[in-house]
Assembly symmetry: C2
Homo-oligomer: 308 residues x 2
């Protein structure tokens, strides 16, 4: 089935979500967004490419959901209120079934992350998705990667390594993992939950924050670099889920927790007097110096799409 571009866009993406901030959505030369008085805009863009970020035959609703949530997670890391998103979709052919599934993923993510779709572009070409998200915050009130101070506590939300385990377990048939654990780990990869509410709670409290998308060690290295500090991590303090703790290869589970990406938890630094929010764990300290120091772990560096 071949549909025209405008049919496609109108059919699947014209009305996904709504918000009083959105004055004009999909269909004109640009969308129009009006924020609460005096608020600033926070904007981030993320691209997912077939064969790099997802397999060419990945379920379209999963591609859509994960790409939107990965972008939304950047807003969480800034402590922003989600406002809206734009979606640029490049696809080799206009297949109605594929698009219906993709649109379902967009719709579901839009709802869960409170991000109405206000614009986009559909082009023909190798499959890729670029999501631009917009959030808001009161002026000067947002979290950055650059505010960590020696003496702060280094903390993380939720548990780490689940998404990497889930991805691995989607690709192989491992009968040693229980059905319930398998389902939990799969969902942690397939349906990530950006920590938008926690980000807003930390706004004005934490001294710095980043979302864990490249893996704990890699994202900690970004935070250390941008804040011009060192970070120590106590490997025994890293929060690991019941499901991942049950994994038969503990060394592998520990490596996923240290290096696995896609958990979309928040890594943040708290002044020593601040109260640790629910479902968060202190895993280390901010120190003077540079780099990330984690007992028994070597080769700590950021994930690099173009590195060797």
């Amino acid at each position: 089935m071949v549909l025209g571009e405008f049919d496609l866009i109108e059919r699947y993406f014209a009305q996904v979500g709504a918000s009083p901030s959105v004055k004009l959505g999909v269909g004109d030369d640009a969308a129009v967004l009006e924020l609460p008085a005096g608020h600033v805009h926070l904007i981030s863009t993320d691209t997912a490419v077939s064969g790099v970020h997802f397999l060419p035959d990945a379920a379209p609703n999963v591609i859509a959901y994960r790409t939107v949530m990965a972008a939304a997670s950047d807003l969480a890391a800034m402590g922003a209120n989600p406002e809206a998103m734009l979606l640029a979709l490049t696809l080799p052919e206009a297949n109605a079934d594929w698009l219906a599934s993709f649109a379902e993923g967009v719709r579901s993510a839009s709802e869960h992350a409170s991000l109405p779709l206000i614009g986009g572009d559909t082009t023909r070409g190798p499959l890729s998705v670029t999501v631009t998200v917009l959030g808001s915050a009161p002026p000067g009130h947002y979290l950055t990667r650059s505010g960590a101070q020696p003496g702060d506590r280094l903390c993380v939300s939720g548990t780490l390594g689940d998404a990497a385990a889930g991805l691995f377990l989607l690709e192989i048939d491992d009968t040693s993992v229980s059905a319930a654990d398998l389902e939990f780990l799969h969902q942690r990869f397939l349906r990530p939950t950006p920590r938008l509410t926690l980000g807003q709670t930390l706004n004005g409290v934490a001294t710095s924050a980043i979302d864990v998308s490249d893996g704990l060690l890699a994202d900690a290295a970004h935070l250390a670099r941008l804040s011009s500090v060192g970070l120590t991590i106590d490997p025994s303090a890293i929060p690991i889920s019941v499901a991942l703790r049950a994994y038969p290869d503990p060394a592998q589970a520990r490596d996923w927790a240290l290096r696995g990406g896609d958990d979309y938890e928040l890594l943040f630094t708290l002044p020593s007097h601040a109260i640790l929010p629910d479902d968060c764990t202190q895993i280390g300290r901010v120190i003077a110096g540079s780099g990330v120091h984690c007992d028994g772990v070597l080769n700590i560096t950021g994930y690099d799409h173009f590195g060797r």
Copy 2:
């Protein structure tokens, strides 16, 4: 030469343009933009794909310049003040020469369109570029595609067909065109100039506007559809440049003016009492009804990336 992703981004894109609105640029989870009090945000995103929107061996600075300017043209069509842009670049390999040229195009476009680069994403994959532009306007004061009223005059800025001719003449060796005309037409394709100042002039005056990116007839059809009106175009009134008038095949020149894309002029409707701005031409009328009516021209429809 292989560079790490972060090296790349920092080396080429960290500081492209500046503006008092930009509170935080490239390098954190999101960029932060603060608008003049009470202003709304206008946002648009545009993707250009290798082999679809440009040839795989196109000069990187031209790819960058044209993609940014195409996106900026959407802001012009809304009558917005340009504020900032984000750039998502997907490329098969990190070649320093290619990137240096691409960055030069970004820098030049950023300067000409007053759009500081505040964020982006660099990923590995088939070459494509997605540019998201942000503009501002006072609340309720922006141009849309949907306000044309029967009785309004249909007008266009500049001249049409030049970019299509320029693209054609880049690909063949036509000795019948003078060197000066060739240079003019080439530049109209290679270095488009979004009508940002004109858009702001028309803001509050014109009843509707769209930029001519798909071609006059196609974009007129969008305007007619979104405004629920008909449009008549007098083909003899269409403004054609001296260089294009000199083209040895007048029928081809006329077709470029009617159907050629990429001119990035503004097509707009003016109430009958409003003064026509400099460098603009009335080419028709808004009528009750639907569709675009142009004497002697058949098959008027929008350009469609997925059409047959």
